[in-house]
């Protein structure tokens, strides 16, 4: 566990770009790694892989259902396919195929959904995946990952390829603060504690992990000691980490996703099963967003460190 030193959060690359780099690296090491994309390869960064391995890249056109089905067929024949598109398209339009052709037969397909959440900005709600985690978690056997930065993303792409079975990885559009030292190792199903604290624990993932760290610093200046953990592995969840978080007596969960069906409710299930304590949820509350800059949207929809800190104060007021 790290000491509570002040974090210098430098802006790194977008997690989607880190995915593209990691995929190309994997491609060099393993000829069974293949990729399919649906006319968004420049945005999902699978184009790096496509350029280097044109024979192992299958352009599917704007047809996500078929894309997921083709990936399942490639996997059934021994390949390790990565199927990438915007999360809102691959998960929503490919959901039936993720269910029947991937989850049900436990096929070795890796789905990567980029452009998650409101932080894509101007393109608006039709392009913003705010329910992808919920949908992916509803599929038995799926591993569901939401890395916070480029370091974790690269490790998770590798972990996904090594894991035998369906995986969904969520990636973001904007450049993202770097939380981890380069080359750090991670395990699926194991949370990363970013900060110690005794008054409450903040559990976050994706770009909310950096916001949680900033919130914890703000809270510290107010005399509140907040622990922070990165719950990049939404499924399987790290139950031990949740029990440890609950031992502080109060939990805030923060995610760039609809609160319904997201990380928060999954954590809450573990909390009520093990050691009930007050919880607050930072996320998108039963609505669709709109067009604006990412910063304006994170502000308007309550996804800043300020909102995490407010939730922390609220949950502390309920703590017995």
């Amino acid at each position: 566990m790290p000491a509570n030193t002040k974090f210098e959060l430098k802006l790194g690359m977008a997690t989607r770009e880190a995915f593209g780099q990691a995929l190309a690296e994997l491609g060099r090491e393993n000829k069974d790694v293949v990729a399919v994309d649906a006319d968004l390869s420049k945005s999902t960064f699978t184009h790096t892989f496509a350029k280097e391995f044109p024979d192992r890249f299958f352009s599917c056109g704007i047809a996500e259902s078929n894309m997921v089905g083709v990936a399942a067929g490639l996997a059934a024949a021994g390949k390790i396919p990565f199927a990438a598109s915007f999360a809102s398209f691959v998960v929503n339009k490919g959901f039936e195929q993720m269910r029947v052709l991937v989850a049900y037969p436990n096929e070795n397909v890796k789905i990567v959904g980029t452009h998650c959440g409101v932080s894509i900005g101007e393109d608006g709600p039709s392009q913003m995946a705010v329910e992808d985690i919920s949908l992916a978690c509803s599929l038995p056997g799926f591993v569901v990952l939401s890395p916070a930065d480029e370091v974790c993303m690269k490790a998770m792409v590798r972990a996904a390829a090594e894991h035998k079975g369906p995986v969904y990885i969520r990636a973001g559009r904007p450049k993202t603060p770097v939380i981890y030292p380069a080359g750090k190792s991670f395990s699926i199903g194991k949370a990363e504690w970013l900060r110690e604290g005794k008054d409450l624990a903040i559990l976050a993932n994706g770009l909310m992990a950096a916001q949680a760290l900033q919130a914890a610093e703000q809270l510290e200046s107010e005399g509140i000691s907040a622990a922070v953990a990165d719950m990049f592995s939404v499924k399987p969840l790290d139950k031990e980490a949740i029990v440890k978080a609950a031992s502080t007596g109060a939990i805030v969960v923060a995610e760039e996703h609809l609160v319904d069906g997201g990380l928060g409710v999954r954590v809450a299930q573990v909390v009520v099963e093990t050691c009930p304590c007050p919880m607050e949820f930072v996320g998108i509350h039963d609505t669709y967003a709109e067009s604006a800059t990412p910063e304006q949207l994170l502000d308007k929809y309550g996804l800043l460190s300020r909102d995490v800190a407010a939730a922390a104060r609220m949950v502390l007021s309920r703590k017995k």
């Binding site: 299958f58 056109g61 997921v68 990936a71 399942a72 059934a76």
Partner: protein
Amino acid sequence: MKRTNNVEELRSICKQTRRRIIEMTGAAKSGHPGGSLSAVEIVVTLYYDIMRHDPANPRWEDRDRFILSKGHAAPVLYAVMADCGYAPADQLNTLRKLGSPYQGHPDRRFLPALEASTGSLGQGLSLALGMGAAAKLDAASWRTYVVLGDGECQEGQIWEAAMFGAFHKVDNVCAIVDYNKIQLDGFVKDVMELEPFADKWRAFGWHVIELDGHSVADLQKAFQEAAAVKGRPSVLIAHTVKGKGVSFMENNPKFHGVAPTPAEVEIALKELQ
């Protein structure tokens, strides 16, 4: 297992397969006899003559793959796979019962020799093309066969897949449409017309062969022709009769998804002597 390219022997196996379909669905008291009976010659010709496979080695890497995308016709596949030795023949009448290898729709968890779990229409062609693409990458010689329903071709995903297959020249895939002209709600032409059906496939870049789907000899010839076509996938539009072989089931939409009663089983088995 018995392999043969003798038309008379294959026809005799077809008759036996039809009897099993009637017995199974009769015992299950539910299921889809009509679309199972229409696909008998297609499945039998593939398994006993055309396909390269070995029941003693079901995971043989170079085997040809078979996907029943119209998964509701599971009884025809079960009858054939059991006879080939992939599954216990003495359990065919446990169809649709708890714990049976013969689930309502093909389920690889219960019958591992299946290539695919199917049942949600529209998906098998994509799966087949993914398999075919993988075989081409590996420069492998195995082929993939996928049986589609006609009603199933109303699904948009079929045409997404059709575009993919031609664009990527997945010529080791052969689709077979069991064109029996009937779906659950009635006749295809009244629910959602497919015609001009062959033209649609041609326009999507496929090699199209139209044939009588109950003629074993025509099927043998068509499969050989398809295997020789390079640069694009092939589709057999197999004109068939729903409920084929049982007088009161033929062309009767009722028997899409209704099992025969014990009395009907008796009559049907007599007709299939």
